[in-house]
Symmetry: C2
Amino acid sequence: MGSLTAFTEMLATEVLLANPADNKAALREAKRGLLDYLASAFAGREDAGVRKLLHAIEAEGGHPVAALIGQNKRANRRQAALVNGFMGHALDYDDVHSDVRGHPSTVILPTLFALASGREISGKQFLDAYIIGVEVMARLGQAVGTASYLQGWHNTSLIGGVAATFAGALLLGFTAAETQNAVGIAASQAAGLRVQFGTEMKPLHAGLAAQQAVQSIELTQQGFHGIETALDSKISFLHVYGGKEADKTVPKTLTEDWGKSWRIAEPGLWFKRNPFCSAASHGADAALELAQLKLAVSTIKKIDITFPPGGDAALIHSHPKTGEQGRFSIEYVVALALLGNPFTLGNFGVKAVSFEAEKLMRKMSRSYDAEHKPDAQAIPKGRFTIVRITLVDGSVHQCEVSVPKGSPQAPLPDSELENKCRDFAPDQEKAERILQIIRNLENGKVSALERFL
Amino acid sequence: MGSLTAFTEMLATEVLLANPADNKAALREAKRGLLDYLASAFAGREDAGVRKLLHAIEAEGGHPVAALIGQNKRANRRQAALVNGFMGHALDYDDVHSDVRGHPSTVILPTLFALASGREISGKQFLDAYIIGVEVMARLGQAVGTASYLQGWHNTSLIGGVAATFAGALLLGFTAAETQNAVGIAASQAAGLRVQFGTEMKPLHAGLAAQQAVQSIELTQQGFHGIETALDSKISFLHVYGGKEADKTVPKTLTEDWGKSWRIAEPGLWFKRNPFCSAASHGADAALELAQLKLAVSTIKKIDITFPPGGDAALIHSHPKTGEQGRFSIEYVVALALLGNPFTLGNFGVKAVSFEAEKLMRKMSRSYDAEHKPDAQAIPKGRFTIVRITLVDGSVHQCEVSVPKGSPQAPLPDSELENKCRDFAPDQEKAERILQIIRNLENGKVSALERFL
């Protein structure tokens, strides 16, 4: 059976031979993912948690080697990975991947930027490593299956540190033995509890995973010695966290069909258009469509919002008091849309919910329909949201969405991702330089990009 | 049931009110534990892994605030916790605790030294915090039970970071809310795979746990926000790692009989006399007793070494090639004893096993006896080792040990712990100052001690 095979070595060997940026679809999605990660980090750069982390690393001290995104500051590699990982995920505005069941880019890219800083790394090497990081994270996500999530872990950190370590090893040209050693060091730090959702710890999980990866790579560079078989055997990483499910799935998921296509492009990354929980994306798109009817709010009698059972589990606030709580409220998102208020960061910040939104939210209720069959393309599988408005005159207007814009089945155009980056970059001139460099990054150098971060 | 009670708050409240160093037995054992930790760290100070970590932190940079033991160097608090945690456990020479099923002092004390550095902390505060760290780690060890070990985790790191965070919170006078927050940050980093045993990662687990604790305390000081209920609920720390076993045991173990006695004294710490695996301690004591017969090695026909089934699981080398492998070999330990070779670090280092020892080991064999009943005080429960020498003239000499010297049932005298510290301290004058300060630490300051580390 699988549990006694040399998976760590097999995967390391595949990783180190990979040139995935030669694949056009993967290359394209990697550049889009990079753009979206930077946009998300720029958007999060003034988050209160970022300020706290900056104070903490200032108190520690360290050689200022690696850029802290949007801060005009540098820190040591480990600190930069920690802060940039947090920053990319601070607003829950960064990409998601269905195989990962979590957030890949905000772990992989901060690790790679940290390791690339102060070194001569080509854009091609960087993109190769990023595609591989997402690939390994997606495959590990499938290997641990639902067991790890149900037990209580957050996949972003649980598998992110190991995946980012594989990516870092490829970036720096490690041997297979070095790669396996570094992966072992990272595997022995895999953690992150889902019970933290809704606190600053959720985004910090991304930062901690990136920190782990950098530390595992750097200790390996010093010759520090751990096991080289972290993904094998009965008491190794995959079995410990994935249990019996992993024993069954591992042989298939880790290297099967390697290189036929790349997970970054197929099934692909889900980019967020809006800074709120992705579980509200379907209802948001439905409400935006209904908003085009320009119904006078005073004519609305009631609004029913229907999910499959459990489809609103993450949307924990029915009566949010602030925009921040509104990130996890379908009612607030629908209210903003119908009131013609934009989905800006300001509307999802610390300020109190407006009187108009509050009044409109009082007309809303949620219901669940286990029988309804959504679009076969629905993302996540089986998900839909129906927004149904009943007016005082008795007329009904309804819209259903199963595939929100930004998901791989309804991808955002490049221009929208570029604008997301422009919208939040602290410096427009730098933003244009960044866009320009990323468009042709496979022929450039990472250092050219890093100086504008 | 227990899973919905406010355990984190209950435990934090108990911890913050505790003055355990007022208890004479606890105070005495804490000072002995401190002495033994420093001795173990001094002994490990030139380990190859320490050099690698020093290179890694040098490359990072950082404000030199906290002492690196025996190095005449300082680093930032997090780095010092990492290195000093590793150093104390580098040779597997540090204390063990049966409730913890792992090594408490090499996680708790590096955390406390790091946090105390640059601050005015009394010896009494320091000892209180240390006793509490061991207390919490022992109780968490019982709460996660055998489930976490069997699943594949290493308790030293898995519960060490959380326990050390409680200790650090008491040291710095945190509020209950701050303590709970810091514990949550630490709980989200709990990890460490047992599959790493036999590599440098095993001792690094201790360092990583101490690093976690320091980072969790420092992020909390910056106002960084995580959950305050990490030990409660169905998807929190104890359930995630301890499973159903924890659900049953938690209500009893976390706060029951709090303060009646302290785990550091009852059942107490097991101090190691010798730098090899504690599973070889019983056989070592038996062989040392037989060595007093001064049998000529040439007259020995064969040596049988008998364990309960599985009692030698950790002793993976029957035919060690080097002293380092000999740390996990009952044959090598018995051979050294019978040859009159001392249990020095040199004899457990990188050099090859001597010809004489090799010759003698060839006469040895292991056997198992499931029926034999050892002493009721046996440690671990049910453990024994019988060394039985048959001479060429047919006569038989045999010795059985169930309670090795150094274990809580057969404690080392203070003088032996003081000598362990003297033997390995890099500077004899400093060593005497350290011994002097520890003898009366409850009336002194930590800074007075820290300057001689």
